[in-house]
């Protein structure tokens, strides 16, 4: 093999990663607590990366750094191996963006917007915009300002896809959309993924939608990236355990039997104990179920939404007292 495996590995990672954040740190003004605490992560080519977090967790700051709209306090974001901040103008030709609140001159219609954007991009497929708008049943001749929120999101997606981007950044694109508009949005995204294998980075509160679409999941909590892994391994290691416990009466003793697990949450219920564990394994569960005092143990899978709530659910004590 290579004489210097470390260099080789990082070089090949860099070429495979469409997004690479290295030791990213964002701090605003005199705030002693950073908005994003130093972390690194990457988005492999062709994958769909979902960034989750409660409001105020730092998602927007991260998206701004990624799009080169903001210079991180320390560290860097690279897109296609180039610095997002310094090479922004050049990189943005390869990136399609659907912002959380799509903004455009309110008097311009979707066709006018498409014609306008066509002059800014080296390749622009205006016909595809028209076809998408027709599929979405969004009128191309209504001023942007008179469209509904859902229609604006769909116009924004149509425009974002028209330049055949290599990376699509979607900032909570389905927030506030009704079920029909949301389905149309995800439908179009499925088509795009099937046709071009575009790399997607999205933030979303629609965890059921994300669960069907994402390969990798990142969870931001208080500026820390507490989860960054494939959806498959995330779902494999989280389980809800329910069991009867002879020691339930003894408050000091309950939960002792869980010592083999990382219990994220433990609740005493009328019938026994319910715990969410983050390092489930079939073998450790079998040993756990056989422990003396553990009765009728069962393990059930968690949806992404339940995992998310278990990971970020409790407000950190430090946040109390602050607005």
């Amino acid at each position: 093999m290579s004489a210097n495996p470390a260099t080789t590995a990082s070089a090949s990672n860099a070429s495979a990663a469409v997004v690479l954040a290295s030791r990213l740190l964002v701090r605003y003004g005199g705030n002693p607590k950073p908005t994003l605490e130093e972390f690194s992560f990457s988005v492999p080519r062709g994958s769909v990366y979902a960034l989750l977090g409660r409001n105020g967790a730092g998602k927007s700051s991260l998206v701004r750094c990624l799009l080169g709209q903001q210079k991180p306090t320390a560290g860097a974001c690279a897109l296609f191996g180039e610095d997002a901040w310094r090479r922004r103008a050049r990189l943005m030709a390869k990136v399609g963006v659907v912002p959380e609140d799509p903004d455009a001159p309110p008097a311009m219609t979707a066709s006018e917007l498409s014609a306008f954007c066509a002059r800014l991009y080296p390749s622009w497929d205006g016909a595809a915009v028209t076809a998408r708008l027709a599929r979405f049943e969004v009128p191309a001749t209504t001023p942007f300002g008179s469209l509904s929120k859902g229609q604006r999101a769909l116009v924004s997606l149509s425009l974002a896809l028209a330049s055949s981007p290599d990376l699509l950044v979607l900032d909570d694109p389905t927030l506030g959309l009704d079920a029909v508009a949301r389905a149309a949005f995800f439908d179009e995204l499925v088509g795009e993924l099937a046709d071009r294998g575009t790399t997607v980075f999205l933030t979303s509160h629609d965890l059921a939608g994300v669960e069907k679409m994402a390969d990798r999941v990142g969870i931001l909590k208080g500026g820390k990236l507490v989860v960054d892994e494939s959806l498959e391994s995330l779902k494999a290691r989280f389980r809800r355990l329910r069991y009867g416990n002879e020691a339930t009466e003894d408050a000091a003793a309950y939960g002792q039997e869980l010592s083999a697990f990382d219990a994220v949450k433990v609740k005493v219920r009328g019938w026994g104990i319910e715990a969410v564990v983050s390092n489930y394994g079939d073998e450790s569960f079998a040993r756990f179920a056989a422990l003396e005092g553990v009765l009728d143990a069962e393990a059930s899978a968690l949806s992404l939404e339940e995992i998310f709530v278990a990971v970020v659910g409790e407000a950190p004590p430090a946040a109390k007292g602050h607005p």
Partner: protein
């Protein structure tokens, strides 16, 4: 048609590609999917289930590798003419895994051993009968 038998549950612990793989295996085993019948395209199935096409592709690829599906260039994906039996070791493993899952379900539901075994016999009978009728 095929889409109806091929549902997936994103909240299940089993990865979506694996659910697709198991569903297709089941449909082929039951005869609901006949040899040489056309599978929906990756794109159509992804759209029907609104899941990432890469997930569908991964499930299909595993089935192609296992010889259950076959790709005809330019035509699409089909159920293989003769879906092969699994190698003995694999078969044992699959069988044991399936049996454990079913047994856990029976125990969780509080069903007696007799009832659980009867149900398996019933299902086996139905599947084999359906297969014989079809062929």
């Amino acid at each position: 048609m095929i889409g109806r038998g091929l549902s997936v549950d994103p909240s299940d612990a089993i990865p979506l590609w694996k659910q697709i793989e198991e569903n297709v295996r089941r449909l082929v085993a039951s005869g609901a999917l006949r040899p040489r019948s056309a599978m929906p395209s990756v794109r159509d199935l992804a759209r029907d289930l609104s899941i990432n096409p890469a997930t569908v592709a991964k499930g299909y690829q595993r089935l192609v590798d296992a010889g259950i599906l076959a790709v005809k260039r330019g035509e699409g994906t089909f159920v293989a003419e003769k879906p092969p039996a699994l190698p003995r070791g694999e078969r044992e493993k699959e069988l044991e895994g399936g049996a454990t899952r079913y047994a856990s379900l029976a125990v969780t539901l509080g069903v007696s051993n007799e009832v659980a075994v009867e149900r398996v016999k019933g299902s086996l009978g139905l599947l084999r009968k359906k297969r014989n009728e079809d062929s």
